[in-house]
Symmetry: D2
Subunit: 307 residues, 4 copies
C-alpha cells in the first residue's frame, strides 16, 4: 500500500533546485506522481514555487518522511527553501463563519459530506440563529454569537463583565471568545461563507490562520456593500464572484478564484442576487478545495494556484 504526501515550497530562483529536491525524494524511495512549478520573473527578486505529490510505501513511510524532512532542512541552508509537507490522508479542520444566507454553507457541507472536498468542518460561528438547524442536520457544532453577545455569561472563556463596555469593547471580547474557540477546535483555516460582520484587524493578526472570504462581485469591480445593486446600476452584461484571502483592507486580499455568469437587461438587482448565489457557492467551494489540497501559494498580494 502506498501513501501520498504533498510537498509545497518556495525559494529564491536558482539553478539546481528541482534536481536537488527530486534527488532527496528519490533517495528516500518516493515516487513523484504530480508536480507543478512557477518561476515569478520579478527582476529584483525572482522566486521559485513548487508543488510535488509523491507516494511512499506505507510500511516505511514514517522513516522516509523523517529523513526527507532532515534533508529538506539541510537544503534550506543552501536554497533558502520554505516548505510544507502534508500527508494527503490527514483532513484539515475549518471553522465556517455565516450570517443568514445559507447557500454557501450548504454547498460546503454537501461537498464535504460527499467527500468531494476532503475537509472537516469542525464548527460554525454565526451572528444569527438562522442556520442552526442546518448545522444540526450535519452534526456540526453551531456557536451563536449575536452582536450583543455577552461573553461573561459564557463558561468557556475568561469571564469579563461586558455590561458596561462600549460596543467596540464588546466586539473585541467576542472576537477573543472566537479565537479561544478556534484554538479549542484545533482549526487550520477559516472560511467566511457570507459572514456579514467585518473582522477586526486585531482578530486577523491574532488568529494567524488563512481566512478565505467570498465576495459577491467580480473584484476589483464593486467592492463593499450591495455589489449586485452596483452591478445593476452600471449595466454590466456579466456578473461574478471572487474568493480571496482576507487581509486588513476590505475586499482587497489576494484573489484565489473567480467565476462569472452572463446576465441581461431583464435581470433586476434581485434577480442578479439569485443568479449570483450559484456562482458564489461554486467559487467558494473551488477555493476551499484548492486550499485543502495545498494548491495555493500566496506571494505579495497575489496567489499561485496549481489547479
Amino acid at each position: 500500500m502506498n501513501r501520498k504526501f504533498i510537498l509545497i515550497f518556495s525559494c529564491p530562483d536558482k539553478k539546481g533546485i528541482v534536481a536537488a529536491v527530486s534527488k532527496v525524494l528519490f533517495e528516500n524511495d518516493a515516487n513523484i506522481v504530480e508536480s507543478n512549478q512557477h518561476s515569478a520573473k520579478s527582476v529584483s527578486n525572482p522566486h521559485f514555487y513548487m508543488r510535488i505529490v509523491f507516494e511512499l510505501d506505507s510500511l516505511s513511510d514514517e522513516k522516509n518522511i523523517a529523513n526527507i524532512k532532515i534533508k529538506l532542512n539541510e537544503l534550506s541552508n543552501i536554497f533558502d527553501i520554505k516548505y510544507q509537507l502534508n500527508a494527503v490522508s490527514v483532513k484539515k479542520n475549518a471553522a465556517v463563519f455565516v450570517s443568514k444566507e445559507d447557500h454557501c454553507l450548504y454547498e460546503l457541507l454537501w461537498q464535504t459530506s460527499s467527500g468531494d472536498i476532503f475537509l472537516n468542518i469542525s464548527c460554525i460561528f454565526s451572528n444569527h440563529k438562522t442556520l442552526s438547524s442546518v448545522a444540526n442536520f450535519y452534526n456540526v457544532p453551531f456557536i451563536y454569537i449575536p452582536s450583543d453577545f455577552n461573553v461573561s455569561n459564557n463558561n468557556n472563556c475568561d469571564a469579563v463583565n461586558a455590561a458596561d463596555d462600549s460596543n467596540n469593547d464588546l466586539k473585541l471580547k467576542q472576537e477573543q471568545f472566537i479565537l479561544n474557540e478556534i484554538v479549542k477546535y484545533d482549526i487550520d483555516f477559516i472560511i467566511l461563507a457570507k459572514y456579514m460582520r467585518i473582522l477586526s484587524s486585531g482578530f486577523i493578526n491574532l488568529c494567524n490562520k488563512k481566512i478565505i472570504n467570498i465576495h459577491h462581485s467580480f473584484l476589483p469591480s464593486f467592492p463593499g456593500a450591495k455589489p449586485y445593486l452596483q452591478a445593476y446600476e452600471k449595466g454590466v452584461k456579466i456578473i461574478g464572484a471572487t474568493a480571496h484571502f482576507v487581509n486588513e483592507k476590505l475586499d482587497d486580499g489576494p484573489i484565489i478564484e473567480q467565476d462569472v455568469i452572463r446576465i441581461n437587461h431583464e435581470d433586476d438587482a434581485e434577480e442578479l442576487k439569485k443568479k449570483g448565489k450559484i456562482i458564489e457557492r461554486m467559487v467558494l467551494a473551488r477555493a476551499v478545495k484548492f486550499f485543502v489540497e495545498d494548491r495555493i501559494i500566496q506571494y505579495g498580494n497575489k496567489t499561485i494556484v496549481f489547479a
Copy 2:
C-alpha cells in the same frame, strides 16, 4: 417573395401598446416573425421597449410601409412612441477608426466580407499607416490622419492654414476634417477598433452618430491606460473585454457586450495582452452585429440588447 423589416420603438409604459402596434401591422398585411420587449420598472418613469421583425409581400411593401409609418405617427400622439423602421435588406455604413493593432479590424473585415455581419465598412480612418495594406486588400478607402496631419494640404476639405496652430487647434481641425469625410461617406455609425487617440467631446457631439468602442478590460474594472498591466498586478483570475457606446467620459459609456477568458499565474502582462486580443475582437464583432441588426436600445447609461 417577402421582404423583412425591423421596427424598434420605446415609449412610456401603458396598457395597450402591444395591441395597438400589432393591430397596425396586421391591418397592413405584415406577418410578425420575431418580437422582443422589455418593461423598465422604474417607479417614477416606467418605460417600454420593443423590437419587432415583420415580413411584407414585396409586391406591395412600399405602400404598406408608408401606411404603417402614417399609423405609427398617429400612435405617437397617444403613446409618445419613438420608433425606427428599417428594411433588413439595407446595409448600414460604418467608419472604422484604427491605430496600429490589427486584430479588431481584421475580425470586422472578415465577418463583413463573409456576410456574417451584414454591413458596409465604408472607410477606415487611422493615425498610423500600419494597416493601410489590409484596407487595400479589402478595397476599403484608408484615410491616414497622423497626429501632425496638416488639414490645409488636403483638397477634400475647407483649407485652413494649420501651420501656426497650437496642437489643440490642429486636433480640432483634423476632427472637423474627419466629420466632413463622415458626411461624404454617408456614415451611419462609427466603430473604434483599438483607436488609440481620444475623440474630443466636441467631435462626439457634432458627429451625432453612435460610436462603438472596444475597451480591453472587464469594465468597470481597469478603465484607462494599460488595463492588462493593471489586471496582472491585481492578480485577477479572469480577464475580459467590453464593447460600449462612447460618451464624453472615458470608458464610461453604456455597456453593450462583454466577455471573459480564464487566465492563471503563469500569464504575465504580455501574455494577457495576447489572450485578450481574441476576446476583444469577438466582443467588438458581436456588439457591431447587434447594432446592425437593430438589437440595441440605449436608455440612460445602460443598454437593452435583444440578443
Copy 3:
C-alpha cells in the same frame, strides 16, 4: 395590487395571431410585461409558438381571466390555438425520483426551499433508503419502493399477491402503485434526479405527465450506462450533462438544457464523475426552473425554451 399570469400557446403560423391575442388581452385590461415568440419555419407545416406574461388588477382578475379564456377559445376556432393559462402565484407539484446519489436531490431541495425555484416538491420516490434522512430534514414524504417491494403488503393501494409474480409483473405492480401515489399527491410533473431504474413505456404512457430526466453526458454523446467511463475512454476534453423530457427510447427525448465543463488528461473516470455532479445538478435545476415558469414548449423531438 397586480397579479401575473402566463399564457403559452402554439398554432399553425398565420398572419394576425399576435394582433388577435394582444387585442383579447388589451380588451380585458391585461398589461403585457413579457413576451417571446418563435416561428418554426418548416415548409410543410410552419408553426407559431408564443409565451406572454401579463398583469391584471387583482380586484377584477377572476372576471377578466374568465373572459380571456372565452375569447381564446373563440380564437381556437380561427387559428387552431392550443394554450395554457396559469397564474404565476400557483406552485406546481413535483414528484422527485431518486436512487442513492444525493446531489441532484439536494440541489432541488435547496433551490426550492430558498424560493429560487418556485415549486412544491410533494413527495420523493426511491428504490433505496439512502436519502430518507434528507427528505425528513426538508419534511417531504419519502416513499421507499425497493426492487423487491411487495405491493400487496401496502395498505395504500389495491392489494395484489405479488408472491408468485415474475419480476416483470412485480415491477409493473410497483409502477401502478407509484401511479396511484402520483394521483394522490396531485402531481403536475415528475423529476428523475439520478433515478437508476428505467421506467416502463407503460408507466410513461399511463402517467401522462411530463417527466424530466438528467443524463450525465452531453447527449447525443454517450447515452446509456457509464457515460463518464465512455467519455474518459474517448479522451474528450469537455464533459457535459443533459436534461431532457423522457420518451419511450432511453436517453433520447427532447433536450431541454445542457451544460459542459472543461476537463483534462489528469482526470480519470472517477474524477469526471465528481466534476460532472456539479454540472448535473445545475442543468437539472435550470430545466426544472424553466418548466415551472412555463418556458418550455415541446415540438416534435425538440424543445423551444423561452429563457
Copy 4:
C-alpha cells in the same frame, strides 16, 4: 543571453525518472523554468509523460545540448525513454490544406503573422482556387490541385500519363504529388483547415507527419457529413468543434482540443454554421498553438495536452 529548449519525453513509469532527468539538466547548466508531468495509471502498463522547458546560456548552449543528448540517450537504456528536444527559437513548418471556406485559414494566417502562434505556414494546398488571393496577400505559396488535376502536366513530379487512369488512380497520383511537395517544403506537420476531401490511408501512412484536422461538431457527436444539420435536427442546446489528429478512421483520431457555444431554438442549421465558424477557428488555432509549443503527447487514441 539565455536560450530556451523544450524536452518532451515518455517512458514506462518507474521511481527516479524525475531525479535522473533533472540531474542531467542541472549538471549541464540548465535552469528549469517550466515542468509538467502525467502518470497514466493503467494497471498493466503504467506510463510516465513529461514536458520540461529549460534555459541555457547561449554562449555554451551547443555544447550543453550535445551533452544533454548523450546523457538522455544513456538514460534511454535504463528507463526506456523516448524524447524530443527542440529549441524554442526554431519555427516549425506547416502545410495547410483548405477547400472553399476561409475562416480557419484566415485565423491561422493572422495568428501566425501577429506572432501569437510561432509558426511558418510554408504552403497552402487546395482543391479549389477560391482562397488563392488570401494566400497571395500573406505571400504563402498556393498549390492548386483540383479533383481533375493531371499530375503529368506538372514538371515538379515524376510524369505519369493520367489520361486513362481511373479516378482512384488519379487521386493517388495527386496525393503522391502532394507528398513530394511536402518533402520539398520541409514540412513538419499538416493542418486540415476545412479541407473537404478525405485523405487516403495510404497518404496518411506514407506522409508520416502529424495531421491536425478541425471537425465542426463536438465529437463523438455528429461525425461525418453535415454536423450542423445533424445538431439542428437533434435539438441540442450547445454546439461545438473538435481539433484532432487524423488517423485512418474518419473523425475518430485522438482529440486535442474542443470548445462549445450555446445556441437556442431560433438558430436554424444555417445560423449554427455561422456561429460554429467562430468556434472552429478558435479551436483549431489553439490546437496548432499547442502543437508548435510541443505541448501535446499522443498515447493510444488519446492525447495529453500540457496546456
